[in-house]
Symmetry: C2
Subunit: 301 residues, 2 copies
Amino acid sequence: MKLTILGCHSATPRTNTNPTSQVLEIKNHMFLIDCGEGTQVELRRHKIKFSRIKHIFVSHLHGDHYFGLVGLISTFRLLTRETELHIYAPKGLKEVITLQMKLSDSWTNYPLIFHELDSKKSELIFEDDKVEVHTVPLDHRVYTNGFLFKEKPDERKLDMKAVLKANINMAYFRKLKQGADVVNDDGELIKNETVTLDPRPTKSYAYCSDTKYSEEIIPIIKKADVLYHESTFLNKNEDLCEVTKHSTAKQAATIAKKASVKTLVLGHYSTRYNGYGLFKKEAQEVFENVLLAKDGVSFEF
Amino acid sequence: MKLTILGCHSATPRTNTNPTSQVLEIKNHMFLIDCGEGTQVELRRHKIKFSRIKHIFVSHLHGDHYFGLVGLISTFRLLTRETELHIYAPKGLKEVITLQMKLSDSWTNYPLIFHELDSKKSELIFEDDKVEVHTVPLDHRVYTNGFLFKEKPDERKLDMKAVLKANINMAYFRKLKQGADVVNDDGELIKNETVTLDPRPTKSYAYCSDTKYSEEIIPIIKKADVLYHESTFLNKNEDLCEVTKHSTAKQAATIAKKASVKTLVLGHYSTRYNGYGLFKKEAQEVFENVLLAKDGVSFEF
């Protein structure tokens, strides 16, 4: 699982800070999460192949999370893309994009499929045989979702020594991998766990931005391997959290701790601060394993 | 008159090329012309004070000319701008921006005034005591205007030697500057041109992008000091002009020659070419005084 931070700053793009966007590589998928202005240029800068992006997840309709989307959709068209593009986003985005395409008389020649979200409960919004994606309802000034990306378990591994010893016909190997008990050539029932091994553990990534401190998300993101939780403010500006519906680094860490995640990644820093060391310091007072997102940085988990 | 090219490439933004946007400083005005994605970052890069931008002119609603506008409007709001912002743009833009503000629940706290254009004839769209701006109807795939920016003449200059010799009372100096004849202290009529000098010549800038070759614009831009005319293609791709409704460098030069402008600036290059020397060469076969626009370059005229 690889996470590339294209941008992790709040509010306005600047010469040295990008608004929110990130790419999650998980099980051959290349998911784009949020798409602030300039995202398409950052994708190019990191040599991420446009054609590999088939699913885009938009948390909410504040500009720093989606103003780059219409340009990306338009660029895909100019590059004569043919493959489907799925967009998971709050209700309203389809109208914005459609209006802009209408005004420019530039309809996409590839299927552009909107999955508009308006539920306030966690939903399964994407699933294939390898991965599933659930929404994480967040508490922000406008309707907002985080997203939980979960690998599905691989098949069980055959313990070949045990399999051969148990005298099982090759025709049953497929069933064994799927976890079933089988009958061997001698007519005996062989319990699956005696001849197979657990697959490698699955991984999961929870993206939660933007949101105020909300314990309601904990059951959904429980034990995620990695949690990206917004930390717009430091402790000294905690008073701003209530009205802006953002979080401090320490609040993000508290969620990480209570949800028993393995790793916390902080981001969505307010541009009022220079340097981000204090974000890590304040978070680590509550939760040890903290990483700082940084524009252009990739993490492998 | 100073022209700063923030971006002069067609279609998609890239790591080393920006879509169209430019800033024209003329008589204390700082006019922003077109606003492709990334324009606000380019404004910062060139240290152009956001507060000095009070008028934005949008040629047409293809993304490479306006996808950066909503972000800029939004940034002005975050910077607690209070002064009016006037936007001159094809009908439809107001709906796009309003919809996006509604969805993000982020209305501007400064007056945002749209002047929507839909006339197919040249119109005077802005005027104060120093400058006037006219539309230049262009021929492109969607409704498009160029813009002609014209300084108004300064007041006439007093020829102080002649004024004193003519025995004119100081109370009449204002009238003289305005071009009127006056009566001197001896009761004689003094012809204005005998005691005043012409002001410095006025300057004008015509921005014409995007457009196919169209001689209909010639009467409007006639004798402009500077013409920025799009040159998307080189001669070898002239066949693409008809369907895309763009121009070659040579066609731009032909317009410059027929309109008797002083200087031609080429831009809006297709990203299919590497290097732009040929644009200049092909244009100069028709018209001598050619400059190449380049992202980040300023011209003083």
